[in-house]
Amino acid sequence: MWKFLLPFAAFVALVVLFAFGLNPSRDIHALPSPLIGKPAPEFALTDVLDPSRVVSNATLKGQVYVLNVWGTWCVACRQEHEALLAIAQQHVVPIIGLDYMDEREKAKQWLTQLGNPYNAVAFDTDGRTAIDWGVYGAPETYLVDGKGRVIFKFITPMTAEVWQHEFLPRIAAARREGA
C-alpha cells in the first residue's frame, strides 16, 4: 500500500529542506544581485572630503576596482574598517567608497579619525546612486572588471579572509581576461 507511505515520504523531503535551511553559512537576507555580468551603473558625485571635486567611475574605465558602500550610522561598517585599511595597504586595486545616507561632517570625522582606506569617496546625498547599484544595506562591496562590468557583490563586513578567498582570485581572473 504505497499511498500510506506518501505522507512519510513527503515528511522526509520536508526534513531535508529544513536541514538545508539550518545550514549556518546561509544568509536569509542575502539577495543575488541582478547586476552581476552587467555594466556597472555610472555615477558622478561629489567627494566627501572635498565637495568641489567630482568622483566618477567613468575615469576608472579599463581598470579593475572595488566599490565599498558604507555609512557612519552603520555599525557593521565600523567592524570592517580595519580590514579595509589593511586591504588598501596591499594596493591591489583602487577602492572607491560610496558614503550612503550619511552626513558629510560625520563622514569626514570618521575618515580622519579611523584612517581612510579609499582612493576616493563619493558622497551619495539622495541615495540615487545606491538605488542604481541595487544597494539595500551597508556594508556592501562590489567588484568591477576592466570591461566595466560588475562581477561580484559581497554583503556583510569585509574581512581579510573574504578578501583572500573571494576577491583576489576574481581580480586575478579579471586581469587575465582583460590582458
Partner: protein, 144 residues
C-alpha cells in the same frame, strides 16, 4: 534610524525593528497633503508601492516601511510616474536593480509556473480525488 539589513539583528526579542510607515518629502507636483496632484497618478503610486518589497524589512512593502531606502524608492516611483513612465517601466527599473525578489508577486515565467500554477494543479487533483472516492463509495451499500 538605521538600516540593519546586514547586521545580525539584536537577539532575544520579536524582531519588529521595522516599525510603521513614514512619509517621504519630495518636491514637485505634490499638493498640500503630500498627494500627487493627478489623482490617477496617486492611485497608481499607491498600487505600485504596495507591490514592491522593502528589501531592508523584507516582508514589508515600500508603502508600509519607514526605513530610508523605502522612502527613497517611493520618491523614485513618484518621480517616474510624474515623468510619464508606465507601470511596467517602473517595475522593470526596480527588478533591473534589485532582482525579481523586489516584487511581491513574481511575474509569470517558466520558473514561477509551479508557484502560480499550484492552486490550479491542486484544484484539478482535488476534483480527481473527490471523483474517485465518491464513485467508489457510491457503489457500496449505504447501510452498515
Amino acid at each position: 534610524m538605521s538600516v540593519q539589513a546586514h547586521l545580525r539583528l539584536s537577539a532575544f526579542a520579536l524582531l519588529l525593528a521595522c516599525g510603521a510607515f513614514a512619509h517621504s518629502q519630495s518636491a514637485g507636483s505634490l499638493d498640500a497633503n503630500g498627494q500627487l496632484e493627478n489623482p490617477a497618478l496617486q492611485a497608481r503610486f499607491e498600487r505600485i508601492t504596495k507591490e514592491l518589497r522593502c528589501l531592508v524589512c523584507q516582508n514589508e512593502s515600500i508603502a508600509d516601511s519607514n526605513v530610508e531606502l523605502a522612502s527613497d524608492l517611493r520618491r523614485q516611483v513618484r518621480e517616474m510616474l510624474i515623468a510619464g513612465r508606465s507601470d511596467d517601466a517602473i517595475f522593470k527599473f526596480m527588478t533591473d536593480r534589485y532582482g525579481e525578489f523586489v516584487r511581491f508577486g513574481p511575474p509569470l515565467s517558466a520558473k514561477t509556473l509551479l508557484i502560480w500554477g499550484a492552486p490550479f494543479i491542486a484544484l484539478l487533483l482535488g476534483v480527481f480525488i473527490i471523483y474517485r472516492v465518491a464513485r467508489n463509495r457510491s457503489r457500496q451499500p449505504l447501510d452498515e
